[in-house]
Amino acid sequence: MNRLLPLLIGGGLAALLCCACEERPPVVQPIAYNHKAHIDNSIACDACHETVQKAAAASVPTTATCMLCHQVALTSSPEEEKVRWYADKGEEIPWRRIYRIPTHVYFSHRRHVAVARIECAQCHGNVASLTSPAAYPLVELTMTWCLTCHQAHGATQDCIHCHR
């Protein structure tokens, strides 16, 4: 029993440290998409993320949208080849979600982009400078972070407008 006690104490401490870790696993995208290269070619954010002006959720481009330009190889990158591979299979590219909000929150891109005219980079960070996909969100979307901006700009702070 005497020998067991220190084992348990050690185990307990390690477990606490283990559980205290809030690391989310890094997000891996199916294609190492280069935002900077596309933006340098004068492609606006909402050319691909079409629904930001019209709907609550922002969309990612369909394979067909990518194929508008990438039917032929524009670079020698094997990543670009993957686009045509998905298109041949007739599949959508399985993009993974980085910016996540809980299901009990209502957020409308339309309200923030079309009405409030907020720049994408303000909430999503300097995505335009990324040459490969981010593994983690560039900005942590906490409630405090949202409310700070709402307070500063006199937007609603009524709980009911976001919680559902």
Binding site: H104, Y106, R111, A114, C159, I160, H161, H163, R164
Partner: protein, 230 residues
Amino acid sequence: MARWGMVIDLNRCTACQGCITACHQENNVPPSNPRLAGQNRSIRWIDMMPMYEGEYPHTAMSLLPMMCQHCEHPPCIKVCPVGATFFSEEEGIVGQVYSRCIGCRYCTNACPYTVRQFNWFEPDVPPTYPQGTNPDVSVRYKGIVEKCTFCNHRLMHARDTARADNRNLLPGEFVPACVEACPTKAMVFGDLEDPQSEVAKQARSKRAFRLMEDLGTEPKVYYLREGRGQ
């Protein structure tokens, strides 16, 4: 600023319970089972309240559909220790933040209308059901109190659309699921602050009454007494 309220005409209500199923479908209320029902723990955001009066053979009975009354002075929000329920000054709706609820059930006890429901068990949902959940409403789990929200998720969508079109909400653009489903159009819903709205006009009717008005909760659900004389 709005004060969303409802008027239910008891001459037109036929107790078909269509409002109840429509609400449960819209708000992902979990289905019940004999065990829960046996313990009176079925979750009903809106329910029929039967009230018998008189003795046989002079029996009379009233059937009232009752949901959260969205009181102007709600007793439930005052007792919540964690701020999981609140009164929206802009909409007049008593809302809930499910992620904050710790399941202490003080609010359930404080509510004089007993319209708050606690999830005593993990919802017993077969694996095929989740595809049919309404994505606009959170799915609650064990240990959380829930109640009627006047379908405020519909209100948010409606406000979003109206704002994008740079106009005010049209009358009837936002109705909760129960009002929409009522086959006899016994329920009228709208902004009580707008004196020209149908709901405000009917709330001023001589037949209008509210439940437990003497408690001072100022509920926003009005009922029109049964009987002749419109």
